[in-house]
C-alpha cells in the first residue's frame, strides 16, 4: 500500500551505494562542548556527520575527551572534511590523513576554499583535488559553487555527490539562487546536497522542495539560541520538504482564485436579497 509512512521509510538517500534514512547531514563545529554536539546530532537524526582534521595539541591533552568518543564511528558515518584548505595538494594530504585516522574509510567531503573572507570554493583547485582523490579510491562529496557546469564536471570526474552552496558558509542567508540549484538538480545524476548558507528551518525545507537529495549544515544549528531544539526543527524541515517534493505541489495560479468549499447549497442570504441567484 502507499501509506505515507511506508513511502517515507523506503525513501532512502543513497550515497556511494550506501542507503541512509536521514537526508540531513550535520557538522560538528562551533558547539560549546562535545556533550552539546552529541545532543544536537542526536536531535537532528543525522547519520552522516562531518569532522575536521587538525593538528593535535601536544603536551596539554592527556585525558582530554575526543570527538570520536562522543560520536562513535559504530553509530555514525564520519565525513572528514578539508575545511581550511586553499590548495588541492593540502586537501588531498588532509584526506589521506583522515583515511588513515578512520581505518581506511573513504567517504570524504572535499572543500577547497578561495579566500578567507568569503570562504567561496576555489573550483579549479577543487576539480584538481577531486581528480586525484577519485584516482586514489576516495568517494568524494564535493562542496562547490552553484554553477551547473562545475557540478557537472565534478560528476564527470567521479564524485559521488555534489554539494553546491546556498549562500556563503556560516552566513545563514538561505538559498540565494534557487534557479541555479534547480538546473544542477535537473542535470546532475549523482545526489545534490545543499551545503552552506542555510539559516533556519524554512531554508532547509525550500532546498528539499526544490528536489535536493539532502542538506548539510552546521552553523544554523550550532549558533541557534537553542541548538538542540534547532536540530530537531531542521530534522522536521528536511522531512517536510522532502515529503512535499515527493507529493508534488499544486500548480501556482496567480490570477485564478479557487474556493475550497462547495459553491452550491449556500443558505439564503440575509435581508431582502432572496431574489439573488445562488
Amino acid at each position: 500500500m502507499n501509506a505515507p509512512e511506508k513511502i517515507a521509510a523506503e525513501d532512502a538517500l543513497v550515497v556511494a551505494g550506501r542507503a541512509y534514512r536521514s537526508r540531513l547531514l550535520v557538522g560538528t563545529g562551533k558547539y560549546r562542548d562535545f556533550d552539546e554536539t552529541r545532543r544536537a546530532v542526536e536531535a537532528s537524526g543525522a547519520e552522516i556527520v562531518t569532522v575536521a582534521i587538525r593538528r593535535t595539541n601536544i603536551g596539554q591533552n592527556a585525558g582530554e575527551p575526543s570527538l570520536l568518543e562522543a560520536l562513535p564511528t559504530s553509530r555514525f558515518t564520519i565525513l572528514p572534511n578539508t575545511a581550511g584548505c586553499y590548495t588541492a595538494e593540502d586537501a588531498v594530504r588532509t584526506l589521506r590523513l583522515a583515511r588513515e585516522l578512520l581505518d581506511g574509510h573513504s567517504l570524504v567531503k572535499l572543500e577547497v576554499l578561495g579566500d578567507a573572507q568569503s570562504l567561496y570554493p576555489n573550483m579549479p583547485e577543487t576539480l584538481a583535488a577531486a581528480k586525484t582523490l577519485v584516482a586514489e579510491g576516495f568517494q568524494v562529496m564535493a562542496y562547490c559553487s552553484d554553477d551547473p557546469i562545475m557540478a557537472r564536471q565534478l560528476e564527470d570526474l567521479g564524485c559521488v555527490a555534489v554539494m553546491p552552496l546556498a549562500s556563503l558558509i556560516g552566513s545563514g542567508m538561505g538559498i540565494l539562487n534557487p534557479w541555479n540549484l534547480q538546473i544542477i538538480i535537473d542535470r546532475v545524476k549523482v545526489p545534490v546536497l545543499v551545503d552552506a548558507g542555510i539559516g533556519t528551518a524554512s531554508d532547509a525545507a525550500v532546498a528539499m522542495e526544490l528536489g535536493c537529495d539532502g542538506v548539510l549544515m552546521n552553523t544554523a544549528i550550532a549558533k541557534a539560541r537553542e541548538p538542540v531544539r534547532m536540530a530537531r526543527a531542521m530534522k522536521l524541515a528536511v522531512e517536510a520538504g522532502r515529503e512535499a517534493f515527493l507529493a508534488g505541489r499544486m500548480p501556482k495560479k496567480p490570477y485564478e482564485a479557487s474556493a475550497s468549499s462547495p459553491q452550491s447549497g449556500l443558505i439564503a442570504p440575509s435581508g431582502t436579497a432572496s431574489h439573488k441567484s445562488a
Binding site: A52, S66, I78
Partner: protein, 70 residues
Amino acid sequence: MSAPIRVVVNGAPREFPAPLTFSQLLDELALAGRRLAVERNGEIVPRSRFGEARLADGDRIEVVIAVGGG
C-alpha cells in the same frame, strides 16, 4: 643510530638524543593510544609501522586528530 636528531612536530622544533620510532615519539608526546594519524614529510606513516619506522634528522611530522567542523 645514536646521533641526536632535530625534527619539527606540528610546527614546533624538537630535539631527541637518538632516532626514535614513531611509537616512542607518541609516548614522548603523551599521545600513545589516542586516535590519530601521522604524516612525515608529506607522506602518511601507517599505524602498523609506528613500532618499526624511525624518525630521521630534519623530518617534518604532522600529528592530527578529528575535531569539530562543518
